[in-house]
């Protein structure tokens, strides 16, 4: 009796399996769909955002440029007009609106270089950083304070007062030297040069005259 019942049930086994399959596959179709999270995970984005590696200081950048470090790309995310007026040496202009265009991807989405983003301060460059991070681009960094800080620290460093520590003077010396590298001329340099120039021609002229005179007379 038991065997017969079992056999009866088992005779439907393929039908049962087919029904199970259709139910499972149909379940997939009927499941409520939701937008899947794509790109970087929120935890990773947050840890990138609070990481100290996110920013590069203007001093570090100046050091890199002066040492001709080939490992980074400078990307100016301001508009073209501002870029044409002034930008950092060897920077590439990718305005924030054009950041996601295909032409920009080659510069941003690569492993070979560190990408350093900058704008006037770090407001737009932070936005660009966030967009690039969402797209999981690697090695993105932001110039801290942007061009404004670049200007106040590297181009026009503030001279420390006498009651400040020695390290500030060292930093000032570095920044001053860096600014000279980038073409700033200091008053003490300007004064020193004309004195040398004035002295030299006088001597030469007097020597020449003395030499010429006796030769002429001799002939």
């Amino acid at each position: 009796m038991i065997n017969r019942k079992l056999a009866k049930v088992l005779s439907f086994r393929y039908i049962v399996l087919a029904v199970v399959f259709i139910a499972l596959a149909g379940g997939l179709v009927l499941l409520p769909k939701f937008e899947k999270h794509e790109g970087i995970k929120p935890e990773k984005l947050l840890s990138n955002a609070i990481s100290s590696e996110r920013y590069i200081s203007s001093d570090e950048l100046a050091h890199k440029i002066i040492n001709q470090d080939p490992s980074f790309l400078l990307i100016d995310v301001r508009d073209e007009e501002s870029y044409s007026k002034y930008s950092l040496p060897n920077s590439i202009n990718i305005p924030l609106e054009k950041l996601l265009e295909d032409d920009s991807e080659g510069y941003l989405n690569q492993d070979e270089f560190d990408v350093i983003l900058f704008s006037n301060d770090n407001f737009y460059s932070d936005q660009a950083w966030l967009l690039c991070n969402r797209l999981e681009y690697k090695n993105m960094r932001v110039l801290e304070g942007g061009i404004n800080t670049w200007f106040t620290t590297i181009i026009k460093p503030e001279k420390p007062t006498e009651n400040q520590p020695a390290s500030d003077f060292e930093l000032y010396a570095f920044r001053k030297a860096a600014s000279m590298y980038f073409g700033v001329v200091y008053p003490d340099q300007v004064k020193a040069e004309p004195i040398e120039k004035k002295a030299a021609p006088k001597k030469i002229i007097s020597v020449k005259k003395k030499k010429k005179m006796p030769v002429e007379g001799g002939c």
Binding site: F21, L28, V29
Partner: protein, 197 residues
């Protein structure tokens, strides 16, 4: 969470260990379900045994449905899975050669090794043929190279090519499978029975 190895939950060395374990299990199940018999395998071409069709179709369905459910529930990232690259003409010609080998030899490469393991002489001959084929291919590689590496279409899937929603595609595929099982059974009932072991 998954896949385990691309997400670094397991190191890459585990690839081989897991492959060996799955391989042994696969071989055992093939042999246990009679797949080491060339008559059973060739039956699908002569219409007296459709077990091969049913088993492999069902296996594909189980895995794709399982993967999609796990993807839906967040246990597996569908986009990280390996997709076999498509070399169109290489696949077509290779498929014809493989099919000819299958119908004439009665084995596919995996089941032939099962046959070898239990000492079937035809399987030994078949594997010998595979080795000769590999030797031939390697020696004339420069000749076959344009076919082997040519007409590369990338890592395409049917869902991408036809732009179908994967869930609907799998549903259609399931219906297709069940209909084909039913038709296969109709054919099998009409064909004269063959007894083998």
């Amino acid at each position: 969470m998954g896949p385990l190895i691309p997400n670094d939950l397991l190191s890459h060395e585990w690839n081989f260990i897991i492959a060996i374990i799955i391989g042994i299990a696969f071989g055992y199940i093939l042999e246990a379900s009679g797949f080491s018999s060339s008559r059973k395998l060739a039956g699908v071409f002569y219409g007296y045994d459709f077990v091969v069709l049913k088993v492999f179709f069902t296996a594909a369905l189980v895995s794709i449905i399982g993967i999609l459910y796990m993807d839906y529930l967040g246990y597996l990232d569908f986009n990280l899975l390996y997709i076999h690259p498509t070399y169109l003409w290489g696949a077509i010609i290779g498929g014809i050669i493989m099919g000819l080998g299958f119908v004439s030899g009665g084995f596919c490469p995996g089941t032939s090794l099962c046959g070898v393991a239990i000492g079937k002489i035809d399987a030994w001959v078949f594997v010998g043929g595979i080795l000769i084929g590999i030797f031939f291919f390697s020696e004339f590689y420069t000749l076959f190279e344009p076919l082997y590496n040519g007409s590369f279409d990338g890592y395409v899937t049917l869902m991408d090519t036809f732009g179908v929603d994967p869930y609907w595609f799998v549903f259609g595929f399931t219906i297709l499978a069940i209909v084909s099982f039913y038709l296969a059974d109709l054919v099998r009932k009409r064909v004269k029975k063959v007894f083998y072991n």
